[in-house]
C-alpha cells in the first residue's frame, strides 16, 4: 500500500537498527544502565509493540511509555459524571468507542448502557450534532475527550452548533493538552528520562514550538515522530544522536505531516472556543496545572458542565484508585506493566482494573496483547 509500505521496509529498518545499536554502544549504555527514552503518545506505544520494536532494539535502550493515551489518564470521577449525565432519561450520550469500557467507581459507560441509559458510539462529534438535529426533543451530549488531535473537531462542532442555534446539544468537555504533563514529568525529582519521542498527530495541530521548553529549560532532546515503524526507529536514532552529541533540540522527523507552525485554522478554532482550566486531574499523575480545557463562557449554551451542573471544579471529588492498581507508577515509568501485582490476573483487557489496560494504546494492554512474553521462534 502506498505511503505505508515504504515506512515498513524491513531492509531499511535493518540499517536504522544497526545505527541505533552503534550509538547505544558509543553511549556505553547497557541493560543494567540503559538510556531511557519516553514515547509520549499512546499511538507510539501501540506501534512499538505491534511491530515488536522493543525486541529489535538493543537492551541498552529502554522505552518508557508516556501519558499520551487519553482514555488511560481519565480519572474515575469523570467516568462517574459521564454515567450520571447518561442516566438522565432525556439524554442521548455520545462517545468515542474506546471510552466505553473505562471503569468508573460504580460502573463503566458500557455497563450503564446495559442498565438502560441511551449511550451511542460515534466516530465524530459531527455525528452527535446530526443526532441532535434529528432528535429535537432529546438533549444530545458528546463526551469531548482527548488531546490536541481531537480538540479542534470538538471546537468546530461547537461553532457549527452555535451557527445553527441548536438548543439541545452540548459537550462534556474533558479535553487535555500534551505539554503540561511532560513538564510535570520533568519536574519530578525522580525523573530518569534522557529524551523524548514527541507525538506526531498532536504536533500536526500545535506545531513544534510548544516543545521548545523541553530542550531550552530542561536540556532534553525531543523528536516529533510519525507512527510507522521506520518513523519511530529513525526518531529514536535522532534522539540518541542528540544525546551522544550533547545537543538538546526540538527536531521534526514527521515533516511530511507536521508543519513546524502547526495548523493555524485549528489553533484559532480552539483559541476561540476553549480556555485553559487552572488545573486538571490526571489518572495516576494527580493534578497538573493548566493541563485541561474548558469551554469559554461565550459558548456556555453548549457546555454540559453548565447544563447539568457537573464536571471538574464543581463539587469535585477525587476518587481513589482501585485497591492494588499501580497505573500511576507504570505511567511515570517507575515500574514496568508486568511488575504490577494485578497484571494479567486481577486486571486484564476483559475486566480492566486500571485504565492502562482499557485502551489498545495503554501500556498495559499493549504488553498484555503483544509483548508479555519472551518468545522463541519456531525452527
Amino acid at each position: 500500500m502506498n505511503y505505508t509500505d515504504e515506512f515498513r521496509d524491513p531492509v531499511a529498518a535493518k540499517g536504522v537498527l544497526a545505527a541505533i545499536e552503534n550509538v547505544v554502544t558509543e553511549l556505553g549504555a547497557t541493560k543494567e544502565k540503559p538510556v531511557h527514552i519516553m514515547e509520549v503518545c499512546g499511538g507510539h506505544t501501540h506501534a512499538i509493540f505491534r511491530y515488536g520494536l522493543d525486541k529489535l532494539t538493543p537492551p541498552g535502550l529502554e522505552f518508557i511509555h508516556g501519558p499520551g493515551c487519553p482514555v488511560c489518564v481519565l480519572p474515575m470521577s469523570r467516568v462517574d459524571e459521564c454515567v450520571e449525565i447518561a442516566e438522565d432519561p432525556k439524554v442521548i450520550f455520545t462517545t468515542f468507542g474506546d471510552a466505553m469500557r473505562v471503569p468508573g467507581t460504580k460502573k463503566s459507560l458500557i455497563q450503564a448502557k446495559a442498565d438502560g441509559a441511551d449511550i451511542r458510539m460515534v466516530y465524530s462529534p459531527l455525528d452527535a450534532l446530526e443526532l441532535a438535529r434529528r432528535n429535537p426533543d432529546r438533549e444530545v451530549v458528546f463526551f469531548g475527550l482527548g488531546f490536541e488531535t481531537t480538540t479542534p473537531s470538538t471546537a468546530l462542532t461547537i461553532l457549527q452548533a452555535d451557527a445553527d442555534e441548536l438548543t439541545n446539544f452540548s459537550i462534556f468537555c474533558n479535553h487535555i493538552t500534551v505539554p503540561p504533563p511532560i513538564k510535570a514529568l520533568l519536574d519530578d525529582p525522580h525523573m530518569i528520562l534522557d529524551g523524548f519521542v514527541g507525538p506526531g498527530h498532536v504536533s500536526m495541530v500545535i506545531g513544534t514550538e510548544p516543545y521548545e521548553f523541553i530542550a531550552r529549560d530542561y536540556g532534553k532532546p525531543i523528536v516529533v515522530a510519525g507512527f510507522e515503524p521506520l518513523d519511530l526507529l529513525q526518531s529514536v536514532l535522532m534522539v540518541l544522536e542528540q544525546i551522544r552529541d550533547g545537543r538538546a533540540e526540538v527536531e521534526n522527523q514527521y515533516s511530511r505531516i507536521v508543519p513546524n507552525e502547526g495548523n493555524p485554522v485549528s489553533i484559532a478554532a480552539c483559541e476561540k472556543v476553549y480556555q485553559p482550566r487552572p488545573t486538571f486531574e490526571w489518572r495516576g499523575l494527580g493534578e497538573i496545572d493548566a493541563s485541561g480545557l474548558r469551554i469559554r463562557d461565550r459558548y456556555r449554551a453548549y457546555d454540559a458542565e453548565v447544563k447539568f451542573d457537573i464536571g471538574y471544579g464543581r463539587n469535585n471529588v477525587f476518587t481513589a484508585e482501585q485497591e492494588g492498581c499501580a497505573c500511576g507508577d507504570v505511567m511515570t515509568g517507575r515500574i514496568k506493566p508486568r511488575a504490577c501485582p494485578q497484571f494479567g490476573t486481577g486486571c486484564t483487557p476483559e475486566m480492566p482494573l486500571g485504565a492502562l489496560m482499557v485502551s489498545s494504546e495503554g501500556a498495559c494492554a499493549a504488553y498484555y496483547q503483544y509483548g508479555g512474553l519472551d518468545l522463541e521462534p519456531a525452527e
Binding site: 515498513r8 529498518a13 529489535l56 458510539m121 466516530y123 455525528d127 515503524p229 483487557p349 518468545l375 522463541e376
Partner: protein
C-alpha cells in the same frame, strides 16, 4: 434446482404487519408465498421427514449445528443476511468434515419490513442452498412489533453426515503441521463496516460470504490426513488459530509477510485502527495439514473456486505452547491473542 413459483402472488401488502404473525390467513400466505414456494420442502408437514443413503453407512455420524444471524445492514456488497444464514451453517457442518444435507430456517421479522426485502432474502437463501447442495426443509416465522427487533433475524440449524473415515479435530494438530488459508482475510468485517455508512468510506469491499463444503471435500479427497479445518468467522483468523493452539497444546507461528490481504481492507484497518487478524470472515477457513502434504493440499484447494487464493501462512511448533505468535514484517515476534470484547457492529 427449484423453479420460482409461477402462481400469482398471494401476499399483496408492501410491508409486514402484525397480522402476518397472527396465525391466520395472512400468516399462511406469507409463509407459503414468500418462503415455502421458494424453498420447496418435501411435503408440507410441520416436521421434515428425511432420508439420505449417507446416514445408513455403518459408523457414520450425524452432525447437527445451529446459528443465529442478526447482521446489520441486512444487505451488503457480496451478500445479505439470507446468504450468510445458509453459508454460515453449511460451513459449521463442513469444517467438522460433515457433508451438509438439510437446513431449517426460522425468521423473526420486525413489523414494517418490506415484503420485497423478504422475497430477496428468501431467493438469496435458496440460491446459496443450491450452490452448497443442501435443502431448506423446515422453518418458522414470527413477527414482532416495531422496535422489538431490527429488520429480520434468522436462525438456521443444519444436519449433515460425517463419513466414518473422517476425524477432524483441533487436538490432531502436531508440531510441524502447516497452516493454510483459502484466500484473503477480513473482507466480510470490512465490507460490513463500509456498508453501514458510518464512516463515509468510499470503497466498496465485497463480503467473502460463501459456502466452503465443496472446498473441504476437494481437500479431504486429496489429503485425507488433514488434521482440522476452522472457519474464521467472528473474532477472525486470530480467534480460530488460538482455539486450535489451545486444544492441540501446540504453539502456532504465522508470518505477517505472507498473510493475504486486500489493499482496501488494509486501508480500512489503517484508518480505523483495526487489526485484520480480528476482522470477521464468512467464507474463509484455516486448515492444518502434515508438512509433506502442503503442496497437495494447496493444489486441491486451488481446484475449487473458493480455494483459488490458498496459501501457507504458518506452522505449528513445540515452542510457546498454546500461544499464537506472528513474525512481523520487521522480524520481531508478537503475540496474537484472542479478541477481547470489542465494540464492533453486528457482523453476522
Amino acid at each position: 434446482m427449484n423453479q420460482p413459483t409461477t402462481q400469482p402472488r398471494r401476499v399483496v401488502a408492501d410491508k409486514v404487519t402484525m397480522a402476518h404473525g397472527g396465525g391466520g390467513k395472512a400468516m399462511r400466505d406469507l409463509i407459503e408465498d414468500v418462503f415455502t414456494s421458494v424453498f420447496c420442502p418435501p411435503g408440507m408437514e410441520d416436521q421434515a421427514r428425511l432420508m439420505d443413503p449417507a446416514i445408513v453407512v455403518p459408523g457414520a455420524k450425524l452432525a447437527f449445528t445451529t446459528d443465529s444471524f442478526v447482521v446489520s445492514p441486512m444487505e451488503f456488497p457480496g451478500g445479505d443476511i439470507g446468504k450468510i444464514a445458509v453459508c454460515g451453517t453449511v460451513n459449521d457442518l463442513a469444517v467438522g468434515g460433515a457433508k451438509p444435507l438439510w437446513l431449517s430456517a426460522a425468521f423473526i421479522i420486525e413489523e414494517g419490513v418490506e415484503i420485497s426485502t423478504l422475497r430477496r432474502i428468501a431467493a438469496s437463501m435458496q440460491s446459496a442452498a443450491d450452490i452448497a447442495g443442501v435443502k431448506i426443509v423446515t422453518g418458522d416465522t414470527k413477527v414482532v412489533g416495531k422496535g422489538s427487533g431490527d429488520g429480520v433475524f434468522i436462525t438456521t440449524s443444519g444436519v449433515g453426515v460425517i463419513d466414518p473415515s473422517r476425524d477432524m479435530l483441533a487436538e490432531n494438530v502436531q508440531p510441524g503441521d502447516v497452516a493454510i488459508v483459502n484466500g484473503v482475510l477480513g473482507d466480510h468485517g470490512a465490507a460490513i463496516l463500509a456498508a453501514r455508512g458510518d464512516m463515509a468510506l468510499k470503497t466498496e469491499i465485497p463480503s467473502d460470504c460463501q459456502s466452503l463444503n465443496h472446498l473441504i471435500e476437494a481437500l479431504l479427497t486429496a489429503v485425507p490426513e488433514t488434521r482440522v479445518a476452522r472457519d474464521a468467522t467472528r473474532g477472525g483468523l486470530a480467534s480460530a488459530l488460538n482455539e486450535i493452539a489451545d486444544a492441540a497444546g501446540v504453539g502456532i507461528e504465522i508470518g505477517e509477510d505472507v498473510l493475504p490481504l486486500r489493499t482496501e481492507v488494509k486501508g480500512v484497518c489503517e484508518i480505523l485502527g483495526l487489526d485484520p487478524l480480528y476482522l470477521a470472515n464468512e467464507g474463509t477457513l484455516v486448515v492444518f495439514v502434515p508438512e509433506d502434504q502442503a503442496d497437495a493440499a494447496i493444489s486441491a484447494m486451488k481446484s475449487v473456486e473458493a480455494g483459488l487464493g490458498a496459501v501457507v501462512i504458518g506452522k505449528a511448533t513445540t515452542k510457546h505452547p498454546k500461544t499464537v505468535v506472528m513474525r512481523t514484517l520487521f522480524g520481531g515476534l508478537r503475540i496474537v491473542d484472542m479478541l477481547v470484547g470489542e465494540q464492533l457492529p453486528r457482523i453476522c
